[in-house]
Symmetry: D2
Subunit: 366 residues, 4 copies
């Protein structure tokens, strides 16, 4: 190396240490200010003050940096400081793994979800259509050892003229069948005003993809003590998804389970694109259990087995899938629900048949 | 051409006409069935019946088509019939241009939006932060001839710890300032339970991108008579967007205005990607006025002028943009709001200065 | 059910069978025409003829369908026929699983890829930077039982001023190291004019994501007998990807391996989104081996283990990943390459340590 | 404000100025090193040196920042410096507007593209199919005042069995027709090995979306003196697109025109999503002319007029569109090409009829 460069680098080394010293002093003082602000309840971020500091600095600037550069550099120093605060704040996000928070284990009756337990399985029809359909399905599922029954009583539909669900009547049908076959009942809530009815009948409140950023619904459900299954929005970033969970925890409900269900991409052969990285990152950055809805992820029956395998391999705590006595006549999602022959093959192919303990119930006379 | 091929083609021609005759007979009967079903209120789509027909057809099939092919072909014939019904249904969608419905003109006080009128402009701060900020902005906007003032009192925020808006107090501040300066007040509603408060203070109810498929909110606002501005969801298809508007019309509110605000794509240099095709198609397929929110579309101040020009060229009935007395200290969206110098240059560059009629008000002592 | 409806439905049933009969006759004749056309080498699709048939049909139409409807219906019948031909054609695509083609097993020396064999592992640095770097890496990889060494001599770079690879010199360095340590050499080819040089030094020709639809390169490599690793384009559909492979097979090269490497989506925390459905569908619809490049899929070191697990669970025949003696000083992809400590932990966590048979070589004096 | 806070803020103010002084000294020295490195031709970025500096700094760190924080802060200072260099480098990119480079005006014969001239129009069939088709189209286009004729002789096709273009014969047909009717000929080049043939027959070399990052093709065309039309890749970022142009300029060809053609998104009703922001940003950040291909952007005939209006409003220097004597029988892109009645209506609706000066030619006896 050029000796001239070496000499100049030595000078840089000295300056680095001097800058470090000044930055450390500055940080110590900023810390003290922050504490005072916390005590007096005033905001830490003060853009007016920041502007004044930048004005003073550019006024004093004699180069070689341009004024724009000085502003940019100090904004980066400010941002670095802010970033430190944000990082600290991040650690204090309730969803965060920071400070070695252990895995959240959500209890739904005797079922434990999360931690190191065996992955669970939520199954059932897309929509609750009739008492017969639900009784038939619940009995069959229980006989395979499934413990968590899903079925929508309120259905979010793009078209106002599509089947919108049976509402409270649907909740009652689901509750009764679940009670009869020893199942826990998972159902979507779409409106804060339905909370009392849902809490009465349902064991796990599901928040659907379209409502992931319905913040008033999040706040309402956050004030419930029922376990919640929070689906990722159709095009939500991972950050937006986990922050939606933060709303729930912030309001006081610790029993939150995340559910990846595929994201919207340009690929036309699948309904959505299952984002396994999101599952891995949600597990890594939060302490919450993470499900994968394999039915909506692919939107294809022939992908249910491989997507389930991928989801379990990447660390999912459970799988959600749709089963219907006769998918061809279902009122929604005909192409992706399984009948019971397909479901049995699915359990075998995914290894779930070894994980579930069937409980025989008297067959419902149907 | 091969004479053999010519002979065979003649045979095809005969068969084509025979098939047409049979299909026409079939259609006439199907039509009759459809009418009976409408009279008795039963569903037109009957998957069990469809399955039976397919079973009969494959049982009768002797080739050269495989059974799978026969099923596929007749499913296409059924679908073609269904498609006809859907097309008819589509014509009967309330949002549809079909049957030569004229452009909807939404009246907000004396302001007319849509039809062949001059494009309007909605401007104001992202969030209502204080009485001073709002009064100052409203006065300046009125002095430039802006008639529609926007300002959020309820702010949907990804992070539960971010500024969430002033709520009802914000609505009151906005109302008062609008009254003082002769402006109409546009503000977002996030919860059906806030409807009464919003109706009391607001002239145009905005439904934000995150709530575009919050169907309970859509239904509630659809039962109001206030004009509505419905933003396209972050990754909503055009079809999903106009069907969300259908919910509003279906519930009885005809005063619906659509608002494109950019969609989520892979491009990192813009916050969203403005979809001008969506504006053109929404104008083409519905009779509703269409706005473009140029602030959120690009998320960059340097794109406000070109995106406004593009939006107006493609036929938008109005533009929505954000103006703040001092964007650098705004509580949200600092990077994309305009100050008043920038706003004046914007009006000039986009030609809006010729379209707006300023009204002088006594300057608020600020 | 309404007896009237029952009667009408009976009439539909009769018509269905009559239409089937006519369609079958039509199909038989169309088949005969198709054979004649194949014999005379003329195109099967003849839009002028199609237009004439439609004109005749609408001229004959007396309702209840509108002319537009008749056109639409017959276009669907034509399309159904065309679709049948396409389906048949699809079966005759060389990549297709149709007609029970067995899994392609690609042989790279003694290594077998695909079929029911154990998944293989391709590892090595992003770019070949120096003899020392390559020798060091090759020796370490061989000592862990890796058999396939990757390293780019030609690097596609967005910026013309970035490091573009060592070219032929890089190929020579790679070849020499692979020979010394008993490895097979995988390297990207970017230009058909480099084919001779690549064929001389390389064991597997890689076609990169940016060149997936560089059809002249595909044709050239298709005329080689070297095994090819074809990466999916950054935003290629699954259909486009497997059709790019068809180019290779069509030109005569049967030794094609596909490689999923993540697709471009809106999600900012990962470089790309690994599309596990694409792996499953590529396995399902083609008989070719499918790899997953876990390095580029996530672009994050902390995702290498979970994405590898997901890829193997979903049926990938092999994994490709990047290893560098000192990632921090790499000339490209610093954030995603593994050093050897990380690589050993990776092998352990993914179970690859049980699948690979290490072969000890004399350590290169480095 | 708390007097304590005021005192502490005064201390911060002093430290800010001291840090500025040190940073300025550091920058001056870094600049000197940079110049020496430029002289000796060594790289400015030295990750090993950076690592050493970080090690020294963390060794010296005594808090209150953690070592991780110190590293992060100094990395930001280094990055800020690097960013300055990059910004300077950016200015020195040949495509950049920096240093007040004037608009590039590309001359194609007597036609001037870019600068403040009237927007031009490129029209013609997707593919050159026959002498008759081309002569007919060229004559009609010339009679409307179009000066730039497009027609593909080499067609990039997803399916290897689709029509791939007439090759050199197509180039000859195009050249002859253009000569007869006083048109300039725009045609795609797909392979560097075809450069001589293309240069002989073509006036503007088009690089297609699929080849935007075919760097060997870019380099070859960059060494030609023919004007180039560079399309944006199907999912290329704006940054990747303009850097592809940089390859062309870097190799010596200054006659580069950019062409936006829509990007791949989730929206199904349009073939691609026209990104008008990209047009605005390309105009803003480079000095090159920018076209919009309205045919591929929407993939729908009913969007050609509104997308053209949007493109011109946002500042495009020209439009590219597809015209065919009989789109229904075209060998590609049937759904989006215009016939001549539609084209005349298009010229009227977009205002192009006032911008073009028709030149009558003797009608080709066709």
């Amino acid at each position: 190396m050029e000796p001239k460069i070496r000499t100049l680098r030595d000078q840089i080394d000295v300056l680095n240490l001097e800058i470090l010293e000044k930055l450390s002093q500055r940080a110590a003082i900023a810390e003290a200010i922050g504490e005072l602000q916390t005590q007096t309840g005033s905001s830490h971020y003060d853009p007016v003050r920041e502007q004044e500091m930048l004005d003073t600095l550019t006024a004093a600037n004699e180069g070689p940096f341009s004024d724009a550069t000085v502003k940019s550099l100090f904004k980066q120093i400010f941002q670095a400081s802010m970033h430190l605060e944000v990082e600290q704040a991040k650690k204090s996000y309730l969803i965060s793994r920071a400070e070695d928070r252990p895995d959240t284990v959500v209890r739904v009756g005797e079922i434990e979800v999360g931690g190191n337990g065996s992955p669970v399985l939520i199954a059932g029809p897309c929509a609750i259509e009739s008492k017969e359909q639900v009784e038939f399905t619940a009995e069959r599922l229980a006989s395979r050892g499934v413990k968590l029954f899903r079925g929508g009583a309120y259905k979010p539909r793009t078209d106002p003229y599509s089947f919108q669900g049976l509402g409270v009547e649907g909740l009652r049908i689901g509750r009764e069948a679940c009670d009869r076959y020893g199942l826990k009942f998972v159902a979507e809530i779409m409106d804060a005003r339905d909370l009392a009815a849902c809490e009465e009948h349902v064991d796990v409140l599901q928040i659907g993809a379209r409502n992931m950023q319905n913040f008033t619904l999040l706040r309402a459900v956050g004030r419930s003590s029922k376990p919640v299954l929070l689906k990722r929005g159709l095009s939500a970033t991972i950050q937006e998804w986990v922050m939606a969970a933060e709303y729930l925890l912030y309001e006081g409900n610790p029993n939150v389970m995340l559910c990846e269900r595929g994201i919207r991409t340009y690929e036309p052969t699948t309904r959505n694109t299952l984002d396994v990285s999101a599952v891995a990152l949600a597990k890594q950055e939060t302490h919450l259990p993470v499900f994968v809805d394999v039915t909506h992820s692919g939107g294809r029956r022939d992908l249910l087995v491989p997507l389930t395998k991928a989801a379990l391999a990447v660390g999912a705590d459970g799988i959600m899938t749709e089963v219907h006595p006769n998918p061809a006549v279902a009122l929604s999602d005909q192409k992706q629900q399984m009948d019971f022959d397909t479901f049995d093959a699915y359990l075998e192919a995914t290894g779930y048949h070894k994980k579930l303990t069937p409980e025989r119930h008297e067959v419902y006379g149907f």
